[in-house]
Subunit: 89 residues, 2 copies
């Protein structure tokens, strides 16, 4: 896990919005793109950065690519900043 890659990925509002959208359920690239006033190639670049950070995982389903949220990386990165190694609640 590249902590720098994770925080860079989180630094753009569109990418955080994508993560928020994926909190409800997995979505295809096209469906996600429909929520923004940006072209598909632009969104595709954002998807790549999220994937590089492992904040999302991809699964092909026919012609569609389905993006899934990966919460655990988010938690890892944050606990890295916030505190000690093991902080059992």
């Amino acid at each position: 896990m590249r902590i720098n890659t994770v925080f860079e990925a989180l630094s753009h509002p569109v990418r955080r919005q994508i993560l928020t959208l994926l909190k409800t359920r997995p979505m295809s690239a096209g469906e996600l793109a429909g929520h923004f006033d940006l072209t598909k190639p632009t969104l595709s670049v954002h998807f790549n950065k999220l994937r590089d950070a492992e904040l999302v995982a991809v699964e092909r389903r026919g012609t569609s690519l389905i993006y899934h949220l990966n919460m655990s990386i988010l938690e890892e990165a944050l606990s890295g900043l916030l505190g000690k190694k093991d902080q059992t609640p």
Copy 2:
């Protein structure tokens, strides 16, 4: 709290390192600058971004400016991304 400002501030490794240094104790601008291979003006810009995001607070002590960590903003921003409004442990 500008969530965007907070995440932008967190996106640079030097700024995250500054926060980590401040976890142990408050430090002056000069002392913080000593930990990096960058000029003071450059660090000063980083301090400003952290202050804008309210991730740190400043207190003047004689000719020195002492920077303090403000954990709560970090937690707020993160819980905003991670989950529901109130997630009492």
